[in-house]
Symmetry: C2
Subunit: 230 residues, 2 copies
C-alpha cells in the first residue's frame, strides 16, 4: 500500500528541515551554551559536542542516507555507494558523539547509563552498526545470493526505519532531558533558549517524519523500483 505520490518533492522538505536543524543546534550549543571543546576545564563544552554530532550525524546525515535512493537522480549503483557512505559517516559521528558524553560524565563525576535516553542511545548505536554491517555484506561486498538479497530487502528497509525512528525519538528524549536539567538549575521555562530547544526537537521530529514519508512514496524510476537495491 505505497502512497500514490512521488517522493522527490518531499526530499526537498527533508533537505530544508535538515539545514534548519543544523543551524539551530549550532546556535544553541555555541551561542547559548558557550561552544564546543574536546578538552576544557569547563566540562559543559565537552557535553556540547554530543547534541551537535548526534543530530548532524545520526539524524540528519543518517536521514539523507535513507532518502538518497529517492533524492538523487543517478544510477542505482551510485546511489548505493552514496547510501552506505552517508550511513558510515552518520555512524562514526554518532559513536564520537556518544564518546563525548561519556567523557563529560566521567570528568564531571556523573554516573553513566541511568536514564532512558542513555539506554536507548546504546541500543540505537548497536542496532545501527549491525544494520550497516549486514547491509554492506549482503547488498555491496561480497554480496549475498539473488534470493537472499530479495528476501532481505523488505526487512532491511523495515528494520532500518525502526532504528531510525528510535534514533529520532531518542534525540527528542535528549533535548527534553537536557532542557529539564537546565530548567532545574534555574533556566526560565519560557526563555528564548527553552523555546529554541523545543523548536529544535519539533524540527527534528518533522525531519524524521518526512524521511519516513519519502520512503513510503514512489521513486523517480518509472518502474518504481528505486528501493530495489538488490
Amino acid at each position: 500500500m505505497a502512497l500514490g505520490v512521488k517522493a522527490f518533492p518531499f526530499t526537498f522538505v527533508v533537505h530544508l528541515l535538515g539545514i534548519a536543524g543544523v543551524v539551530l543546534v549550532l546556535v544553541w550549543c555555541i551561542h547559548f551554551r558557550g561552544g564546543l571543546a574536546w578538552e576544557s576545564s569547563d566540562k559543559s563544552l565537552i557535553f556540547n559536542i554530543h547534541p551537535v554530532l548526534m543530530l548532524i550525524g545520526l539524524i540528519i546525515i543518517g536521514g539523507e542516507a535513507i532518502v538518497s535512493y529517492k533524492s538523487v537522480l543517478l544510477k542505482k549503483e551510485v546511489k548505493k555507494v552514496i547510501h552506505l557512505t552517508l550511513h558510515a559517516i552518520a555512524l562514526i559521528l554518532g559513536i564520537v558523539g556518544i564518546c563525548a558524553v561519556f567523557k563529560y560524565h566521567n570528568e564531571s563525576s556523573i554516573v553513566n547509563l541511568y536514564s532512558l535516553h542513555s539506554w536507548l542511545g546504546i541500543v540505537v548505536i548497536i542496532l545501527y552498526g549491525i544494520q550497516w554491517i549486514y547491509g554492506f555484506i549482503i547488498f555491496f561486498y561480497p554480496g549475498g545470493s539473488e534470493g537472499l538479497r530479495a528476501d532481505s530487502l523488505p526487512w532491511h528497509v523495515a528494520f532500518g526505519m525502526f532504528v531510525y525512528v528510535l534514533a529520532v525519538a531518542n534525540a527528542a528524549l535528549g533535548f527534553l532531558e537536557k532542557l529539564t536539567f537546565l530548567e532545574n538549575s534555574g533556566l526560565s521555562k519560557f526563555c528564548s533558549e527553552a523555546i529554541l530547544v523545543n523548536c529544535l526537537a519539533v524540527i527534528t521530529i518533522l525531519y524524521g517524519a518526512f524521511v519516513i514519508l519519502a520512503v513510503g512514496c514512489q521513486g523517480n524510476e518509472e518502474d518504481d523500483h528505486s528501493y530495489s537495491a538488490i
Copy 2:
C-alpha cells in the same frame, strides 16, 4: 514492499506487551506513587491519573485498535466497528488523562504547556481526534464515494501510524520527564522505581514497534486485503 510473513503471531506479542504495560504502570502509580485520585489534598495523586490513562488509553487500547484488522478473525464490517470503537475509547481516555494533568498543574501552581512533552501531547490529541472524525465520516457513516475511500485509505493508514508513533514517543518523553523530576527531588538513579519506569518506557516502545510491525505484515485473508476497509 510488504513483509512476507503473517501478522497474526505478532498480534499476540502486542497483547502480551500490552498486559505487561498495564501491570507496570499500575504498580508504579499505585504501589510506588501512592495511588490515584481526582480530588485530593495530595496533588500528586491527581497527576497519577495522567500516565495511567494515557498509557492504557491512547497507547495500549489505541494500539489494539490499530492491530484489530490483523488480530481479530471476524468479518471486515465487524472489524471496522471494533477498530473505530477502540479508537474512540482511546481518544476519550486520552482527553481525560490530559485534563487530569492540567488539573494537577493548576491546583499545584505549576505552569502549563512549557515542555516538549506537553507541546507534542496537544498535537497528538488534536491529530488523533481529526484522524478519528475523518475515518468515521469517510469509511463508516455516511461514508465517502468508492473512489474517495480508495484514495484515502493509504493516507489514513500512513497518517494513523505517524500519529501513533508520535504518541508512543511522547509517552517515552513523559516517563523520562517525570523520572527526571523525581530524581531531581532525591530519588536514587538506580533504585527499583527508576528501573521500573525505564523498563515501562522500553515496553511501551516495544509495544508500539510490534503494533507497526503487525500493520506491515500480511493479514489473515488469503487475498491479503485485511486493511482494505473501504
